[in-house]
Subunit: 599 residues, 2 copies
Amino acid sequence: MPEYKAPLKDIQFVLDEMLHSEQHYQSLPGCEEATPDMVAAILEEGAKFAERVLAPLNQVGDREGCQLTDGEVKTPTGFKEAYQQFVEGGWPSLAHDPEWGGQGLPESIGIVLNEMVGSANWSWSMYPGLSHGAMNTIEAHGTEAQKQTYLTRLISGEWTGTMCLTESHCGTDLGMLKTKAEPQADGSYKISGTKIFISAGEHDMADNIVHIVLARLPDAPQGTKGISLFIVPKFLPNSDGNVGERNNLSCGSLEHKMGIHGNATCVMNFDGATGYLIGPENKGLNCMFTFMNTARLGTALQGLAHAEWGYQNSLAYARDRLQMRALNGPACPDKPADPIIVHPDVRRMLLTQKAFAEGGRALIYYCAQLVDRVNLTTDSDERQQADTQLAFLTPIAKAFLTETGFESANLGLQIFGGHGYISEWGMEQNVRDSRISMLYEGTTGIQALDLLGRKVLMTQGESLKSFTKVVHKFCQSQAENRAMQEFISPLARLNKEWGDLTTRIGMKAMMNREEVGAASVDYLMYSGYATMAYLWARMAVTAQQKLDAGEGDRSFYQAKLKTARFYFERILPRTKTLEATIDSGADNLLAMDEAEFSC
Amino acid sequence: MPEYKAPLKDIQFVLDEMLHSEQHYQSLPGCEEATPDMVAAILEEGAKFAERVLAPLNQVGDREGCQLTDGEVKTPTGFKEAYQQFVEGGWPSLAHDPEWGGQGLPESIGIVLNEMVGSANWSWSMYPGLSHGAMNTIEAHGTEAQKQTYLTRLISGEWTGTMCLTESHCGTDLGMLKTKAEPQADGSYKISGTKIFISAGEHDMADNIVHIVLARLPDAPQGTKGISLFIVPKFLPNSDGNVGERNNLSCGSLEHKMGIHGNATCVMNFDGATGYLIGPENKGLNCMFTFMNTARLGTALQGLAHAEWGYQNSLAYARDRLQMRALNGPACPDKPADPIIVHPDVRRMLLTQKAFAEGGRALIYYCAQLVDRVNLTTDSDERQQADTQLAFLTPIAKAFLTETGFESANLGLQIFGGHGYISEWGMEQNVRDSRISMLYEGTTGIQALDLLGRKVLMTQGESLKSFTKVVHKFCQSQAENRAMQEFISPLARLNKEWGDLTTRIGMKAMMNREEVGAASVDYLMYSGYATMAYLWARMAVTAQQKLDAGEGDRSFYQAKLKTARFYFERILPRTKTLEATIDSGADNLLAMDEAEFSC
């Protein structure tokens, strides 16, 4: 039976020791109360909930899945009760505006809670998780009345929300969407159309479900410039704001899918459902982009979650399972065989997961502090800088961490040998659950085009520089730190090569725009390895400082240094291949005639 | 609904044009009748069976799985009838000894049939597939009477067979197995113990199931030197050889697993079951090693199968699905969007699958000709050479092709975007089914230790040289072929680097044997890319010859050249990273204390 233990020590290492959260919160208006002690107390409570309530339901969710009967969805045993506890504990409101019932903590603390909740049970975490999209939309673009009615109940957790974007013929290409919104005399709209892949679209966990639906007005321009947003609740609120009449929308079916069985993935039929415009007409996509970064960071968390779950459980197995002897002779001569953790290749698989989990945590928390600055800082230059860096790092975090999360989940399974393929151990579920993360919220390919095309090349590299400058400064600050040169030298070299490589792509792309698509995914992965190298170097430096100062748990910091070394020696060389494939150009992809693919 | 079309054109390209099967069969005693026309006729019939009977049952098998009731296993709808057709068609006997009812065709033709059958429906193919292990064991080590009773009925397909190796506490480390065999007065044995992961251990498709069970005699030495083999049939044969009394063995449960749901993975309980010794006492593992290479090639096929299935179905989708516009402007301005095959990154994913499927086919057929030579040639030097090369290439084929098969299956899913995660499209099943191939018949880690430790280093590199000499000769033969230098030059360079890299590992391993384990998997993958580069270069040269001669389908050969180019420019650079990680040595894996993994 797989288990989850919240890695509080590492969480605090990253937050407090590496990212200096105390200074960070002190510098932001309204966050002064978020002291390390206060944050630690919150996180300890969150950890208990994740470990004791959610983790034991993870396999239950996978086995039972969701059942649709007469339009009602029954979630797996225990899911509803866990959600009630979650609401009673006040968790949904943690990082939301006190004006609407929130506790006013910064987003970066909410993200740590989401990590623990999501690592323990990703399918469950999607029910409250999807509400964030709806909350952010209403908070940013809703009227006072809409906030009063919907936002307060979403923040309290009484109601949940969804985002209804995808239709069967369009996911990436939302400009093609067909769902219609017809204006009514009373100012409302009749929404008609079918949406697919609606996570948490219907369930039994909350009194009402607030759908944010993308649809077209009758006179809307074609393409992405003709999309508007609508609030379409499952139950129409009465004049007092409480649940009233059932709206004309229903869950038509549940998708049978590879994983995340505990979450209801719904086909939603809107049959002239009553909806309310939110934000300006035809500006729906723009409104959504305002919080796209946060949503994508939320999915990046999924990569970390599956890496952490895979690591913890395969580590326990590697210590327990006896099989073969160490090549240098028995490590445990009193046992019938050695625990497989003695074998170098098993260690390679464990360390890869560890490096991606801890490196991923560092990357996400780093981004979360940028989110805080974008949201809260009063200095507009600082906000702009944080925004630019966050926009650059977000597609990297989303795609790179989900790709490496899937790799990690697979390595976790592999350590179990044949047992990894058997459901009861939970490792194959971890692989299946993780696989969706490279698809939704924009596939890896879409993130890569966003990064290289929209962010880097369209800003003439300014976007990249917003981050490489940070790396450069860090390397300079450590120039005299002899002991750390094993990390600083390769990082500084790579940081320069990254810019050179970008310039070469940019030059080619001026001649042929297809070069952008040809380089994009490899460029994103290259950028991911480079970004994570910076974070591993920072973690190493932090650990070394603690060791030098004789503070804290020596073996924890030593393990950090060894994992950093593993990352630089065994993972970072992947950039060599990526540099070569990027430089190989677009011809090897475009030369094949379409017919030749199957001749 | 996914489909499968047997790639007969490519099969014939590899067999006849690249590997000159006509000369190959002419040179082997007893194979003179296997002319290209005759082989083509057989394969066309096999293709029809795979496409029309097996492929439509692939999703059925996944959805329904197998059901265990009162000790009886019901296979998915249609599986039993398909097996009857398979037997009536004479397919099980294709590549077996005429003395026992076989058709006497060489193994290399059987492997092509297995490719088509396995690509169409891997779970189904395992029922007849597992019989091969039992057949090979009895053919090599059985008595005349055992062959008469068991082998003839296995070859006819009336009965099927299994291999019962694994126990819950040992898979890789068979020396630890506990199943007991107690000698009886009548010369038989009573077999007692529990075996797990027994594929096709119980089912409703054949009249009897012949288990080959690994067990220990009472006085057996400890470890791998105390294992004997036993024939333990589900029904004891009567004196006339037909099915008689039920033996004391039963299927205790079916495993719930990630994929291959159509195949029954059984826990088998032997409760004093009657068994018959086969081969010498305590030499069971040695006996099994005699045909290990064939069994592992059979699993290598699985990598190819899932790459081919993924490629065919994601190609069809990429041509059909309209989403976004080409970066250089609309490719299909009359449609609402362009088919996604215009996007370079989609092409990258398609070409990766294509390169691995076609390259994998070339590698397996190349190995299959070595199997033929080992089995049939009368020249003992030639046999020895073929055997050495086959022993070297087998772990590469098994591990490298299953790893790249899984990668390909994943890319196939990725091309479908969110739809890839939904079961009805069949792509997620392809990923789940393919995942087992890196685990059974020896995990990737075990294959890697076999390759680097047992094969390469223990022969002081002779094993490697048996193949690099072949590559070297080929490069020399093409030294004047200007047009092909884009492939020949990097291949020749790599072939040399491969030897140098091996020497470096060997030097380090003399100081510390753990260096072998630390380098092994990366070394195996490096060897896989190098081996496949040789085969892609050979395919390119063959295609170029056909183009120069103006023979055959021009666009087919052009596509080959373009895929070869893609392989050399976009896949082969992975060796750069692997070289660096191998050279990084064992310290970065061994430095971490066991306790530090979770401090």
